[in-house]
Symmetry: C3
Subunit: 467 residues, 3 copies
Amino acid sequence: MERPRHQGMAKNTYMRWRLPLVCLLWEVAMIVLFGVFVRFDAEADAHWEEEKQEKNLTSDIENDFYFRYPSFQDVHVMIFVGFGFLMTFLKRYGFGAVGFNFLLAAFGIQWALLMQGWFHSFKGGKILIGVENLINADFCVGSVCIAFGAILGKTSPIQLLVMTLFQVTLFSVNEYILLNLLHVKDAGGSMTIHTFGAYFGLVVTRILYRPNLEQSKDKQGSVYHSDLFAMIGTLYLWMYWPSFNSAISEHGDAQHRAAINTYCSLAACVLTTMAFSSMLQKKGKLDMVHIQNATLAGGVAVGTSAEMMLTPYGSLIVGFICGIVSTVGYVYLTPFLESRLHIQDTCGIHNLHAMPGLIGGIVGAITAAAATEDVYGKEGLIKAFDFTGTYQTRTPSVQGGFQAAGIVVSLLMALAGGALVGAILKLPLWGDPAAENCFEDDIYWEVPEDEESDAYHMHNPDKASSP
Amino acid sequence: MERPRHQGMAKNTYMRWRLPLVCLLWEVAMIVLFGVFVRFDAEADAHWEEEKQEKNLTSDIENDFYFRYPSFQDVHVMIFVGFGFLMTFLKRYGFGAVGFNFLLAAFGIQWALLMQGWFHSFKGGKILIGVENLINADFCVGSVCIAFGAILGKTSPIQLLVMTLFQVTLFSVNEYILLNLLHVKDAGGSMTIHTFGAYFGLVVTRILYRPNLEQSKDKQGSVYHSDLFAMIGTLYLWMYWPSFNSAISEHGDAQHRAAINTYCSLAACVLTTMAFSSMLQKKGKLDMVHIQNATLAGGVAVGTSAEMMLTPYGSLIVGFICGIVSTVGYVYLTPFLESRLHIQDTCGIHNLHAMPGLIGGIVGAITAAAATEDVYGKEGLIKAFDFTGTYQTRTPSVQGGFQAAGIVVSLLMALAGGALVGAILKLPLWGDPAAENCFEDDIYWEVPEDEESDAYHMHNPDKASSP
Amino acid sequence: MERPRHQGMAKNTYMRWRLPLVCLLWEVAMIVLFGVFVRFDAEADAHWEEEKQEKNLTSDIENDFYFRYPSFQDVHVMIFVGFGFLMTFLKRYGFGAVGFNFLLAAFGIQWALLMQGWFHSFKGGKILIGVENLINADFCVGSVCIAFGAILGKTSPIQLLVMTLFQVTLFSVNEYILLNLLHVKDAGGSMTIHTFGAYFGLVVTRILYRPNLEQSKDKQGSVYHSDLFAMIGTLYLWMYWPSFNSAISEHGDAQHRAAINTYCSLAACVLTTMAFSSMLQKKGKLDMVHIQNATLAGGVAVGTSAEMMLTPYGSLIVGFICGIVSTVGYVYLTPFLESRLHIQDTCGIHNLHAMPGLIGGIVGAITAAAATEDVYGKEGLIKAFDFTGTYQTRTPSVQGGFQAAGIVVSLLMALAGGALVGAILKLPLWGDPAAENCFEDDIYWEVPEDEESDAYHMHNPDKASSP
């Protein structure tokens, strides 16, 4: 076949030494840092037998493992299969979607264990980890997966690793400010994960703006089966989101409540997404892009408030609104952002994570401010917002104010951090693809031949018939 | 391309105003009804701290959430990924299979929370929900997913929503009659979910009979990769069925036992399905349709009895028989039903749910009738069949009789309900596709272009080579 | 179409009577044996109410079901979806990969319940089963799935069933020797599952050596979407491996620790796999074969030691090494084994299971030998290695020696067993395919026509354009 492929490949995308070097050196660094710092926490350590006696625990079932491990595994699936497959919708970028997501998340969880560990689990010079740390590491990486969605198909694996390094670091700082300094509640991460991750990614993609991206326009769409692969990602995100929002809530009613609220919000979101997907299209047909993404906005938007007494109908309202906002965003805002603001947002994370994340922060602030002893019970209120110690005298309305402050902090951190990291990624060191090679696995992956020739036939029916 | 597509499209399948209107209005109704009625139950409410003290519970692990949440998530996966992907086997209806299943289930779980709530969790004017309600809502929707299998590819999304509204309502009534009035045991829903759902769907599809359906015959088959997508659905249903049948059983041994029995039954079912799939085909080759469906019949058929002392070998026998019955059904009964009784059953739910559901009801009745204090222990027998209060004096053999009555009631409710709903769906209001457009995503979905031209090439190799 | 397919089909692959006969007779045998031997254990039996009182258990949550069921379901997914889909990478063997894996595993778990039951759960003439037995049965079948990987595409379903029958038997004997006679720890099965399963399969495929296999060389590769299907398998294996290695560990800290260690090892493994995949390819591109397989080696290699105090950084080191060993194996060893030693290893199980399994055994032996009271605590050390009863006086260093002996025994059992079973499978009774029909679903499966003609076009673009 004489097809002149990648004729304009001006850029050097050769990964052979750069990628291995980064992977190996960074992994060695992880080993050294883990060696110095990371140990098991009391419930995962072999001394647990003695610990049990000290704490007067009568049964192994009291180990935090049994409270959180099922949710952890659901979250784990969301990060690797959920985000990974959601992004396989592109016709020729399935390997990159699922494979690079795998790479950055595998690195990210290690770095997150360290970063979050230093901030939250540092005792006696050691980071003590248990299942809750694993969940938090997955959460932190979730925010990177979100940002990845904005730049999907336009970056090299090295850029993704660099972004992960910085974003995990900044995530942890932001999380520390919110959870520890502002004493904000955000168990499902509307602010820390979604708002932060999405605006971070949007700024990065803005800085990496590619004026000639229309050269790979034909590869920015999906094919029939790639849309079905993406639905695997969508459904696992959708189904397990109740686990996501409840995974690190307090034991007992809080976890229980968070799951129910999220379940309700997501259900409502599906209906308004379908409604607006059909309504906003001239022929009234449903658009897979909306179904794959906007149906999830309801989970994002109760991330802060799910563990509070949002109530099932409150959750339905939030889901109702977010399905609309998100779908409308896909139809009107994404093209506007691209043409006017030069924000090329491959997966539309602005619609799925940024706006619903902000809504989630606001809903959380309102729900917190509206909390009363009547609704929560005296002890319930203290437990729900951890009004103990230094925060013993904080009232719900003050809490609402701090929650609102948390949104602003997350947003600012994301914008500043994204600008910094975007600038770093713009350096001509990382082997990113030329505009005409975006959204194409062939640059970084060995792609099986058969299907390529098949794809070739698809795109060039004329030539196929007269070779 | 001059291909005259959908030339006979006499019917108006334009969804632009009808679908959004239904989705939005119904979702608003859900919000209002949830606002009036739905609250958290004691274990999900912030007052749980006080509740714990009242009930003398020493640990949060006693919250029902920890007993049932892992099973809930498995059931959730079965409804959305299991049923959704099982139906993607059709070559050009993958979006409809997984997307409409998503839509109807998302609406259905909300309506089911209300309907089942009024019957079972109504206290002081409020429906109090917890994780068990979520499981039951998923179960209820499962019966709609089953009925969807019969009419797959032949209905509009609005018809599916209308069917969901009515079927969930009737399901709840039937369930109330069985569980509360007849005091029947049916934790895995052989009667309430499978028998009811399947016969309901079969009557609906009978009433919606399309004499010219052979016009879309070429689209009723699968392609290689669509069969693999369907296997994702099959395997998740198969693997998680032990969770399905044990999800709402009593804590402790009943949940444990239900999982083991189901595991055994399903294993046996795979072997007889494979055996008969090969035996009934002239060339002795295995048929994906059987593997995708009949392997699951063993799970359906122990739905009632799995939590009883069916024993592992009893389960193997049930699975053994159902693999045969179901496979034989696909080979001989489905064509017969279509040609003689005008029942066009796209997924063969008669073989996977109707017959095994009936068998399951019968096995349950026999197992109940055969229960003895020797096998269950004195307390065990009382606990297993809830022979307390009004039912204190009921004996196992009487229980067996009531179980049998439950089958008959479910069957009659399904036939009557299916007839009613079928008649409603026949009204020329809902935008169903013309016969030549059945099994075709293009009617209701934006379908990516590339692959369509690819599919076009596949079906018309001659034209492809001389355009 | 005049394409002369399977022209050289000298072998009789007609399954119509042989496969059904084997399936039905063996299933009947299972029923009889289950009827004679298998009953519920105390925690799944209806007498549990009384059992609870005897054991002074205050809550149903103490039932082993709640400690192990979530892990069981994860393991179950690994066996059926994980292994099944991992093997769908071949362009025309997806049905066989997922379907035959389904068949052999469904039979294998039944036979394993019996075999393992006689060795480990035999009380008063009965095998008493609970959730832990289900996990162990899945584990045992896992070793068969591994061996299946070596002979994938080259055997008939009957051969696979025969292999399963023998391999499960030998697995159980080997497991008994290791766990009971040598008192070895191997909760994640580096030795019993991976080393045994892999070397067993390698010997079988050596004995079944096909000199003319290059006749089906064109079908040994993948296509774009088959590689994505395989990634579903990869990711589920990767994500749920922490559950695999912790599923049957002691309650409490051991399960907790095993999950954390495995999580860490797998994360490191991804980075070194990516590094070496890129480094060992001239163009520096990543190879899907490595990503699909070598990323999992880290889970295999902590199978023995994960529940010990391996520590997170120890796990990182193991994962680091195994990603390299496994990837290098795919690039250099697999071609060598095929050309020089005539070992045709379809999935490269030597790289994913054999070498990492051996490493896992060695790491386990070292970790055990290095155990101290300081690290484990006095009670912790006794509990971790079960130094009670007969083994009360065993020291960690002696334990290390026994662990090492366990590796040797597993290896020898695998080699001898594989030779025996390979010889049996070589008998001309089982309907295996001719060399030119290997890696082709069409021999044993009804394959939908459309896609075949599509595949036909792909391979023969010339003919497609001038029919």
